[in-house]
């Protein structure tokens, strides 16, 4: 059983639909015991990292997530709250990934939010099994995780940032696999098969 963590950070429907299309059973929950029992855990999230951390704290989920030993996948803001710190609201995050989340600086030709399809490269590990370097995935975000020792995929927008991170059983993608067409579907499938 897959647990999708509901911490009131945006709509979960597209993540649920992605699992449904793959024929996977899931529950949507904010219950620590259900999350701990799950085979795999998804932490989606759209919106503001400061609010996301506040919601996780209020739901009593910070330590629950840190202590999970099954595969966990954070998506977008779900990844960002798993980093050390976010510049958004100067927010201390869960500190699972050794990365800091910074804001893109708009400049000529660099629009913020970074919205649309961009390439992923330097792909490492099972999450990207069967996915060639340079494949396109879908992004919508104004803050990005810096490169660090946990980086397992990169994207270039202005500079290079972490498209995906991995530390032990924890995974995160800054892009939205649930919206990245067949490539994204394969990434989710790879996660489910970990």
């Amino acid at each position: 059983m897959i647990a999708i963590i509901d911490y009131r950070m945006g709509n979960l429907r597209s993540v649920k639909n992605a699992l449904q299309r793959l024929g996977t059973e899931y529950i949507v929950t904010s219950s620590p015991s259900e999350i701990m029992k799950a085979d795999k855990v998804l932490l989606p999230g759209v919106g503001n990292a400061e609010m996301a951390m506040e919601n996780l704290r209020n739901a009593g989920l910070c330590d629950v997530i840190r202590e999970l030993r099954q595969p966990v996948l954070g998506i977008c803001v779900g990844l960002q709250v798993m980093c050390r710190h976010s510049q958004e609201g100067d927010t201390e995050c869960l500190g699972i990934f050794d990365s800091k989340v910074m804001r893109f600086t708009p400049s000529d030709g660099l629009k913020v939010p970074h919205m649309g399809w961009n390439r992923i490269s330097n792909l490492e590990g099972k999450l990207f099994k069967g996915i060639p370097s340079g494949e396109y995935v879908y992004y919508v975000h104004s803050y990005y995780p810096q490169l660090c020792c946990d980086t397992i995929a990169t994207t270039t927008y202005g500079g290079m940032f972490s498209a995906a991170l991995k530390y032990e059983n924890f995974y995160g993608t800054q892009f939205h696999p649930e919206k990245s067409g067949d490539t994204g579907e394969l990434i989710i499938k790879n996660f489910l098969e970990l």
């Binding site: 919205m115 399809w117 396109y136 649930e178 579907e185």
Partner: protein, 252 residues
Amino acid sequence: MVAKRIIPCLDVKDGRTVKGINFKGLQDVGDAVELGELYARSGADELVYLDISATREGRGTFTKLVERISDRINIPFTVGGGISSLDDAARLLDAGADKISVNSSAIARPALIDEIAGKYGSQFIVVAIDAKRSQDGIWYATTHGGSRMTQKELFSWAVEAQERGAGEILFTSMDHDGTRNGYPCGTFAELAGKVSIPIIASGGAGSPRDIADVLTRGKADAALAASIFHYGEITIGELKRQLHEMNINVRL
């Protein structure tokens, strides 16, 4: 860098897609979900569904349709048409829309942009501007499918929309929409110089060359089109291959 996006637009009435020249003389061209899936498979980067139903029943049907789209489509989609409150936005978000677009209602009450962006984030709100060039050469936003001119000057309205939290601007020239003679690329480039959020170009595409022009000379980030896809004149895959040959960065 981020790829230029090709976005088919599907006008929906009672669950079916329609498209007419300058929004008049509607013609049925198919089931909205099926057509969306077909486009997604053939390489569309996003989809836009515009609800042009005028009735409450039509609106209810559209929400159900959005749920079906969300179940079946694995690329992002925007929905628009008749969104005039935070409640409307919430209903479509719950139904699975990735973004919503607002147009006349934001002109009538610009704070709607702040409210939606404040609650759901800028990535969720596209501000659509249907503009026309007046006799004095100035572009003004219009409402009601181009039939009513407003006092909102295009560029200052786009800047205001960005400052209020819009995540993208969808600009349609009502002088070009449906004509298939190409986009006003100079105006698009000027707009791109004034806002820092992505611009989607709409209205006027008759050929791949027109789309290439607005993505290069017009500096648009995405091109939205309907007729050239709906009537099967060119597939999205073929269009993107041609754009690629013209050295435009697209997702193939």
